[in-house]
């Protein structure tokens, strides 16, 4: 661009500037700079916007992140003047265009060689302006990027206690921190609490009375270990742990703007299976980014691509200009990039879309180098049956092209207001292309009938996918058709050859490198493109371009290879957080400068290192955690410890928690004996009266998120969710007090004890709901109550108790 030559031309011109120019500067330019520019572009600011400081001559001369401020003598080539003119980006000042006379003054000033008599120096210690240069060598020293290594367990001060209390290495790290604060861990929780804790943790609901009793009455010293193994091996384990990952993956079954993902449930089921089979976590990530390119992956694994293929979709009105449409695609690529970078790497790479990351060593170039991967990756319905990759790619492309061309034709021909001649010409071109495309498409459909997903064809909304999140209900056969919502490699360009319609131009197998966009805005990416590569700071071969197709496979390999220490730390922290109700790093999706530091860094590193050494096995990690004495502690409050560590950062007790909506609803259904054990398969509307399946199988819609999920802190599937945030609201209690769902469960419970009388009835109900026997006091008061009120009113009360929802 104009950047490099500028400083020189300016210096030369500047020398010739004499006092008339100085007057011009003092009278017309400086006052405007002071009033309209300094608020954001001053060296006195901590971080001048765009790296541009206009309050000193040096700053004005150097320019900012977008290059030099002006080409001396040439206003039309000068960024500063162009910005003031407001006819391309950036438009400055953002608060509104300055009067035309002021702009003329600036043009005149630049034409005169931009004389600047100022002699002030930048404030010492403040930014001198100019582009901020990221020091990657320094950046690589960040704690979270360091290699992980197993650390020797710290020795306890109280050896005798340690010997008695510690069960594994986790305990040594925890005890050492507690000792430093003169805190003792809590005693082991009672067996009832423990069995309940482990059930919820591993399978997602509380145990029945019989299951509790079986554990409590088991005298084997191995009973705890056997319980873990049994639950880890049960299919319900995957149903519980899949949901945590689905939050990370912002799983939903529609894309918001008209896109319906009919086979989204196959991704959900793939995640369930992956947890059940303990697919190594590095492989788990690889498959979700590149199952279609990974050696050894099965066709069934294509479902894993739902991580990318089930994202939210912005509505794109193709009648709008190319720049506007491009802006919406940029938003979508940004969303995919964000879900991958925060979800898998715990880094906020998306902050670098408009400017270099302000805090982490991630440049804007890094951002667009990664964003290119997503500009080269498109959502697609793909068959589960094995296909010739080339035929499949051509077919997916051709079918999309067929839809796009037809969309263009109908749109241009319906629009009576536009120039009919150019529209007719464009329509003719589209029809010509269709005439060639259609027989090809039909021939492919005939030869490979399994490629064509009929449901998809009939249900895709017409006309550019318009409309607000249409909902379609499939019949069972359609829903179970052998297809997945995945992705395939094709670069996306926009064709603005007709002024009234922007046509999407996909090129199968041809990746797209992106240029840098000003403030991430559509239409501004006109400079040199950057090759698709991994983040400089994490890469062992910085700048090495991705070489496989879109680059998804290279990206996956980098995430689990070059970035393995970070990737492992992030998942270990997620699993730890779900197991303890509190994280070692309190910002589970931000391990950068703005995130929290680990509360116990040595423990996190040691676990991450051993996690990798144990084949990235999630079940290994959970055994390690659940077998520790730390995990088995009671959760009751202790005044002495509360005083020293109120937030329980050091884990002197287990954190008492409440059930999330999935565990709460599933537990209540199970208490009432109504839980439908149907495993996997297409989703159901959560509000359907006949839906007694696990909450995991509820249909998740972005267009209309189910109310019950919403009021119980289910994260919005519009974006990656780092962790759920619990709230307590009266709306939640109204559900427990008044909803037909609870009333039905209460009635069912009452009915199941109909034949019993008096104390036996109450005892049975306590056992069914709270998995224990009532105390004599509780028995008395229950008997008094059901003497006056229907039994179903009492059963509802049991379901509504804090005890039912509590997870101590």
């Amino acid at each position: 661009m104009l950047k490099s030559a500028l400083a020189l031309t300016f210096t030369a011109a500047c020398l010739s500037a004499q006092s008339p120019g100085t007057d011009l500067f003092e009278n017309k330019i400086r006052p405007v700079l002071v009033q309209s520019c300094y608020p954001c572009h001053s060296s006195k600011l901590k971080a001048p916007m765009g790296g541009l400081a206009l309050d000193t001559k040096a700053g004005l001369l150097t320019g900012g992140n977008s290059g030099a401020s002006f080409t001396s003598g040439n206003p039309d080539q000068s960024l500063l003047v162009r910005a003031l003119r407001y006819n391309d980006v950036p438009k400055m000042p953002p608060s509104g265009k300055l009067p035309d006379q002021v702009i003329k003054d600036f043009e005149q000033w630049v034409s005169a060689g931009a004389p600047d008599p100022r002699t002030e120096q930048p404030t010492p210690g403040a930014s001198a302006g100019g582009p901020r240069v990221i020091d990657f060598a320094q950046g690589r020293k960040w704690w979270a990027f360091q290699p992980v290594k197993a650390t020797p367990a710290p020795a306890a001060k109280d050896k005798l206690f340690a010997q008695k209390w510690q069960r594994n290495k986790i305990d040594a790290f925890i005890l050492s921190k507690l000792e430093a604060k003169k805190l003792k861990p809590s005693a082991e929780a009672d067996p009832r609490t423990l069995v309940s804790r482990v059930y919820v943790d591993l399978v997602g609901y509380k145990p029945t009375f019989q299951e509790v009793q079986a554990y409590v009455n088991d005298s084997s010293p191995k009973r705890y270990k056997q319980l873990l193994e049994r639950l880890l091996a049960s299919p319900q384990y995957g149903e519980r742990w899949a949901r945590y990952w689905l939050d990370v993956a912002r799983y939903a079954e529609d894309g918001l703007a008209g896109a319906q993902y009919n086979y989204a449930w196959r991704y959900r089921d793939w995640v369930i299976d992956a947890f059940n089979k303990d697919v190594p976590y590095n492989r788990f990530l690889q498959l979700q980014l590149a199952a279609d390119q990974l050696p050894g992956a099965t066709r069934h694994d294509l479902a894993a691509l739902g991580y990318l293929g089930l994202g939210p979709v912005e509505h794109k009105e193709l009648k709008l200009s190319k720049d506007v449409v491009e802006g919406l695609y940029l938003d979508e690529w940004d969303e995919r990039l964000d879900s991958v970078s925060r979800g898998m790497l715990g880094l906020t790479v998306a902050c670098a879309r408009c400017h270099d990351h302000k805090f982490d060593p991630i440049s804007k170039t890094d951002y667009y180098a990664l964003a290119g991967v997503f500009a080269s990756t498109q959502s697609a319905v793909r068959p589960l049956s094995a296909e010739d990759p080339n035929v499949e790619k051509q077919f997916i492309w051709a079918r999309q092209r067929f839809t796009d061309l037809n969309g263009a034709i109908s749109n241009l021909s319906e629009n009576k207001d536009i120039d009919q001649k150019s529209a007719a010409e464009k329509i003719r071109l589209c029809k010509e292309e269709l005439a060639i495309l259609k027989p090809k498409l039909e021939a492919m459909e005939k030869e490979h009938p399994e490629l064509a997903d009929l449901v998809h064809n009939t249900l895709v909304p017409k006309k550019n996918g318009g409309g607000e999140g249409k909902r379609f209900v499939l019949n069972e056969k359609e829903a179970k058709a052998p297809y997945v919502n995945a992705v395939y490699d094709a670069g996306l360009w926009l064709d603005a050859s007709h002024p009234d319609y922007t046509l999407v131009d996909l090129k199968p197998g041809e990746p797209r490198d992106l240029a840098l966009y000003f403030r991430g805005t559509g239409g501004t990416g006109t400079g040199k493109t950057v090759p698709r590569t991994f983040l400089t700071v994490l890469s062992k071969t910085p700048g090495k371009p991705f070489s496989h197709g879109s680059g998804r496979l290279d990206l996956a390999e980098a995430i689990i290879g070059d970035a393995a220490p970070l990737t492992a730390r992030v998942i270990v922290n997620r699993v730890w957080g779900e197991s303890f109700g509190a994280y070692l790093v309190g910002t589970p999706s931000d391990f950068g400068d703005r995130g929290d530091k680990p509360t116990n860094p040595a423990l996190l590193d040691d676990l991450a290192a051993r996690f990798i050494a144990n084949g990235w096995s999630i079940k290994w990690l959970q055994r390690e955690i659940l077998l520790s004495s730390t995990y088995r502690q009671a959760s009751k409050p202790r005044p002495d410890a509360l005083e020293k560590d109120e937030a329980n950062t050091l884990l002197w007790r287990m954190n008492p928690r409440r059930l999330d909506i999935e565990a709460f609803r599933d537990t209540m259904l199970r208490s009432a004996g109504k839980l439908d054990p149907d495993f996997e398969g297409p989703s159901m509307d959560l509000d359907a009266p006949e839906n007694n399946r696990r909450t995991l199988y509820a249909r998740i819609s972005r267009a209309k998120l189910n109310d019950l999920l919403r009021i119980y802190d289910f994260p919005t599937p519009m974006q990656h969710s780092p962790a759920r945030v619990d709230t307590l609201t009266p709306l939640q209690q109204l559900f427990v007090m008044n909803s037909p769902f609870i009333e039905q469960l209460a009635a069912k419970l009452a009915e199941s004890v109909e034949s019993e009388t008096g104390a036996a009835k109450v005892r049975d109900l306590y056992q069914r709901v709270l998995s224990r026997n009532p105390t004599p006091g509780e028995l008395d008061s229950a008997l008094t109550y059901i003497d006056r009120a229907p039994v179903s009113r009492f059963t509802q009360t049991l379901l509504a108790t804090n005890e039912e929802m509590f997870w101590p």
């Binding site: 953002p94 509104g96 939210p312 509505h315 009105e317 709008l320 506007v324 919406l328 938003d331 964000d338 906020t348 902050c351 990351h357 805090f359 629009n415 009576k416 207001d417 120039d419 607000e468 109700g581 509190a582 070692l584 790093v585 309190g586 910002t587 950068g592 703005r594 929290d596 409050p637 109120e646 937030a647 954190n655 008492p656 928690r657 409440r658 209309k704 009021i711 919005t716 519009m718 974006q719 780092p722 945030v725 619990d726 709230t727 307590l728 609201t729 009266p730 709306l731 209690q733 109204l734 007090m737 008044n738 909803s739 009333e743 509780e778 009113r793 009360t797 108790t801 804090n802 929802m805």
Partner: protein
């Protein structure tokens, strides 16, 4: 900035701080905060300026109302009718034709001589309370992103709605009602989403197509018990809860849920009462008119009166103001009820002394073009359109800003959507640059990196 995204410090503080979330527990949580010294509870972070107003009623004309036929008369349209000078060759959503003059007669009203057309005779009576901004501009000529921008300050779909930001900033004055309510007679995205803000700041969507409060709020009343029976049941429950907590030990969740149950119990009555417009005298209901929008306006006043912080009234269902064709006929049919209800709301608020601390905001996601579409329609126009504010310290009886001679583009004193947001927040005592929330590594604002308080609009 409240670091709720930092999750090492677990449940106690989270629970205590979010006691009656959703139904906006910030004030209660604030009262409890002293017992939590050191922790950073979710309490109202503002106001940090002297507040002029406490409540907002946002009247949203879904689809984009035509400023040229209501507030922005342009005689030049008559002169150049059917022509297409270069200056109107701006790109909008669809292809447009020549200039289309308004068929409606304008007069100047009130002490400031505010232009109002014959379509809005009742609003004309309120002219001295209206602060009409004729130079609003937006960035996009398309409904969904335009509405995203209007409500959330960003064209993408998942940012927190302004009502969420305001309740995040100020909490609520009535724990037995939602702090932020969106009223609409139909579905679609009603911008009640709290985005990355905690769900306690999410708006409660009320469907006003049915005037029965039980149908407006899910699970509001119990069908199988009378109040006394339910109270007895709740007493039984709380007895069990208290004895459970006595055996476990003090716990924020256990405490919090006991209190939350009581709030829910009370809310059944408060909400049933406030959402029941049949409790309003007939003459008042007649003033507002018997339309879904009129019901929305009346409910808005009832809610504000009870301390609800932020109410959105969506003119719906669908996007009725999207007059791509037969504009004149549509406006003649639609304006009378809108005019009646909006004017009734402003007069009613004023009469009850509520207008001083309530900002009423009227607008749509954009306005409409001076050039025609499909003969007698107008296309989307984000370049220059009209919004008005009333009450809450906004200057009444004035018009501000100007569009070009045809009413297409804001040319004098342009006001962006972000400027409107910044100014309304300012009236609530919130500095739009300080009302931030840390998410995904950066401090987000309703106004993103834009927005200026428009001082000329405020007293």
């Amino acid at each position: 900035m409240i670091p709720t995204s930092h999750l090492t410090a677990p449940s106690r503080r989270t629970f205590v701080s979010s006691l009656c979330a959703g139904f906006g527990g910030a004030v209660l949580a604030d009262l409890l905060a002293p017992t939590n010294a050191g922790a950073a509870p979710l309490r109202p972070i503002g106001p940090d300026l002297a507040p002029k107003a406490k409540h907002v009623i946002s009247l949203f004309m879904t689809g984009g109302p035509s400023q040229l036929d209501m507030f922005d008369p342009k005689p030049a349209l008559v002169k150049y009718a059917g022509q297409r000078p270069d200056s109107v060759d701006l790109r909008t959503e669809r292809k447009t034709g020549g200039l289309l003059p308004s068929q409606f007669e304008f007069k100047k009203y009130g002490r400031g001589g505010v232009d109002i057309s014959e379509l809005l005779p009742k609003l004309a009576e309120c002219a001295d309370d209206l602060c009409v901004v004729k130079s609003v501009y937006s960035f996009i000529a398309n409904h969904e992103p335009g509405r995203n921008l209007y409500f959330t300050g960003s064209i993408v779909s998942f940012r927190p709605s302004m009502g969420s930001w305001v309740t995040y900033g100020l909490g609520t004055e009535n724990q037995n009602l939602p702090a932020f309510v969106a009223l609409s007679p139909g579905g679609g995205n009603l911008f009640s989403n709290s985005g990355f803000l905690p769900t306690k700041y999410q708006g409660t969507v009320i469907n006003t197509s049915d005037s029965d409060p039980d149908k407006m709020i899910r699970y509001l009343r119990n069908k199988g018990m009378n109040d006394l029976e339910q109270r007895e049941q709740l007493d039984m429950l709380q007895k069990m809860n208290k004895s459970h907590e006595a055996s476990f030990g003090q716990d924020a969740f256990l405490d919090g849920r006991i209190q939350s149950m009581e709030q829910a119990y009370r809310m059944q009555f408060t909400a049933s009462d406030v959402f029941d417009i049949k409790k309003e005298p007939e003459h008042v209901r007649l003033e507002y008119g018997d339309s879904p929008y009129g019901t929305g306006c009346l409910l808005a006043r009832r809610l504000i009166e009870k301390g609800v912080r932020y109410v959105q009234v969506h003119y719906g269902p669908g996007q009725p103001w999207d007059d791509h064709k037969t504009l004149n006929k549509n406006l003649r049919e639609r304006c009378p009820e809108m005019d009646k209800a909006t004017a009734a709301l402003i007069k009613d608020l004023k009469q009850r002394g509520l207008l001083d601390d309530t900002v009423v905001v009227w607008g749509g996601e954009f306005g409409r073009t001076p050039v025609s579409e499909a003969g007698d329609g107008r296309d989307h126009n984000p370049y220059g359109f009209t919004m008005f504010m009333a009450g809450g310290g906004f200057k009444g009886g004035m018009a501000y800003g100007e569009t070009d001679e045809f009413g297409f583009k804001a040319v004098k004193n342009p006001v962006s959507i972000h400027d409107v947001h910044a100014t309304v927040l300012n009236q609530l005592g919130l500095n739009h640059e300080k009302l931030t929330y840390r998410y995904a590594g950066r401090d987000f604002r309703l106004t993103d990196v834009y927005g200026n308080v428009v001082k000329d609009l405020i007293a």
